[in-house]
Assembly symmetry: C2
């Protein structure tokens, strides 16, 4: 690109002069209205915009109109397949509401999550979506900003902030009951050590209600590697359980890898049901039976909450839907 | 959050008045300098910021300083694992350069890619990163904007724009040679129908140089489903090849699923080598031998090109690195 085109000081007046029209006509062309512009005039204006390298300035527009046509999304790590799908669903839902979505990762090593939040807030965003676990001080910061905010995909309600999630306990309970329905007696759980992870509670409740003993409890990180390590621990401990409920598809996929490597047959020797319902769960073998989170509905609810000033601290919990595939022992 | 806190018209002067300090002191606190502020004064200022709901305004700052501390990234679909990892690498590289990264998906159904590009440009970004295939008119638009731009992860050079990629042909050739080295004689290729996909050429070149016939050529979309469908076609056609090179990890993973479902053993019956080197390729069974793209180096090069006015149309091609796992028939 040429240096001449890089000038940052080109104004709407320059465009108008070059095109031989009024600045109002330039506005009509660039904003598609409110008045119609003759096709040839329109061409002349667009040509002037191109030749002069004019950039209508969203920053200036945001200031003069008080508009904030952008939502900010804070996500811990966009590579996690579940959050990647959630980001994409939120992008679509934001687009439906006529908004852009500024996606920011909070796992940057160079700056703190608080700084990321402050940075987003300073960009005149019209709403903030948090797909991450906040510390108490980060949450205080968010509350002090005065920006409509919604927390998505985390556990239960977040006091003082609107939130959207699923009923983790019920989803895990239903998934465990499916394994019990297969006749399995010893059912393990692999998930995070976080006490607030209600999936572990759902697993316990299902086993207790069925008067079954608790199977092995494997606390492990939410990652492929976490699942892999948990499966290795299970195999090396001897006395494998007959089935396992995992707190995420990623953990289940990591377990599949370790079991495959060791010649342990899923589902013949150990059945698996997982949680999330990501696309990847359908492209492993055996395919994963999984408690699917309704991401599109959750995303739409989040965007709706941002636009509703009365929803300040509402919590909307969606039910999961058990997507039956082969990993649990079902034959399709 | 309370309605009182939502006021958008709170100024730095209001904060200064409430805290009983000068506006300069408010600036020092919010910008961490240039002058030091006594801890108690600092607390008073932060308290005023919180109580009044003051938001330092990046839009106003961008206008007054002429700064553009944000890069824009256009990606086709952030859910694709390869591009998810690329986004994350670019986020880290941008952070290293002191920039935020505004990630935008170009597959929004509601608005065109050109509109997405215009929207990004109007946000006073300091650089534009394109991780997508542009049409000729989209590229003209980008060139007319006068924003430093770099194309990443696409094929070959992009006339008129700086670009960063890998040597696809060499990577595919090396991968195919690895399969030939295993003694396999009939080697298929599964990839896109795009004529500019140089991976297909690399596969052809390796087979031709080894005086081997071309194996089956499977054109299929870049997705899990695309790989799944290609494998089903291979199996149903009968006379399976002994090995296959795929143009992406996603295609290979979809093939693994279809082969697993049909009881075809990878690598005993059909060996696979793929392309990309995503994390997921290491968490399937058998693990994928894959021509890995050096994402972090590519991301750093892209950010560097954005800051170099003389690099307008440079192309930087990195070599891939063959990551050996079990899918090719190697035993580790």
């Amino acid at each position: 690109m040429s240096a001449e085109r890089r000038s940052r000081s080109v104004t709407r007046a320059d465009v108008a002069r070059y095109a031989g029209v009024s600045t109002a006509v330039v506005s009509y062309v660039l904003n598609d209205g409110p008045k119609a512009v003759a096709p040839l005039t329109r061409e002349r204006v667009l040509d002037a915009v191109r030749v002069l390298g004019y950039r209508p300035n969203a920053a200036a527009r945001a200031l003069s109109m008080g508009a904030a046509d952008m939502f900010g999304l804070l996500v811990h790590d966009n590579r996690n397949p579940f959050f990647a799908e959630l980001c994409h669903a939120l992008d679509q839902a934001s687009a439906d509401a006529g908004r852009s979505l500024l996606i920011v990762n909070s796992d940057r090593t160079q700056i703190s999550t608080s700084e990321q939040i402050r940075d987003l807030a300073s960009r005149q965003i019209g709403g903030l979506i948090i797909a991450d676990v906040l510390t108490a001080s980060e949450q205080s910061l968010v509350e002090s900003l005065g920006i409509p905010t919604v927390v998505i995909g985390q556990f239960g309600e977040t006091d003082g902030l609107a939130s959207v999630g699923v009923d983790f306990a019920l989803g895990a309970r239903t998934a465990t009951e499916h394994l019990i329905g297969h006749g399995y007696r010893e059912i393990a759980f692999a998930g995070s050590a976080a006490r607030y992870d209600e999936r572990e509670r759902g697993w316990r409740d299902a086993l207790t209600a069925a008067r079954l003993p608790l199977g092995p409890l494997l606390h492990t990180p939410f990652s492929y590697q976490g699942g892999y390590d948990a499966a290795v621990r299970l195999v090396e401990a001897g006395g494998m359980p007959r089935a396992v409920l995992t707190a995420s598809d990623q953990i289940a996929i990591g377990m599949l890898t370790a079991f495959g490597e060791r010649g342990v047959r899923v589902s013949d020797e150990i059945a698996i049901v997982s949680f999330d319902g990501t696309v990847t769960a359908d492209f492993v073998w055996p395919r994963l039976t999984t408690a699917a989170q309704p991401l599109q509905e959750m995303a739409e609810a989040a965007v709706q909450l941002l636009g509703d000033p009365d929803a300040a601290a509402d919590h909307r919990a969606f039910p999961t839907r058990l997507r039956i595939r082969e990993s649990c022992g079902c034959t399709l």
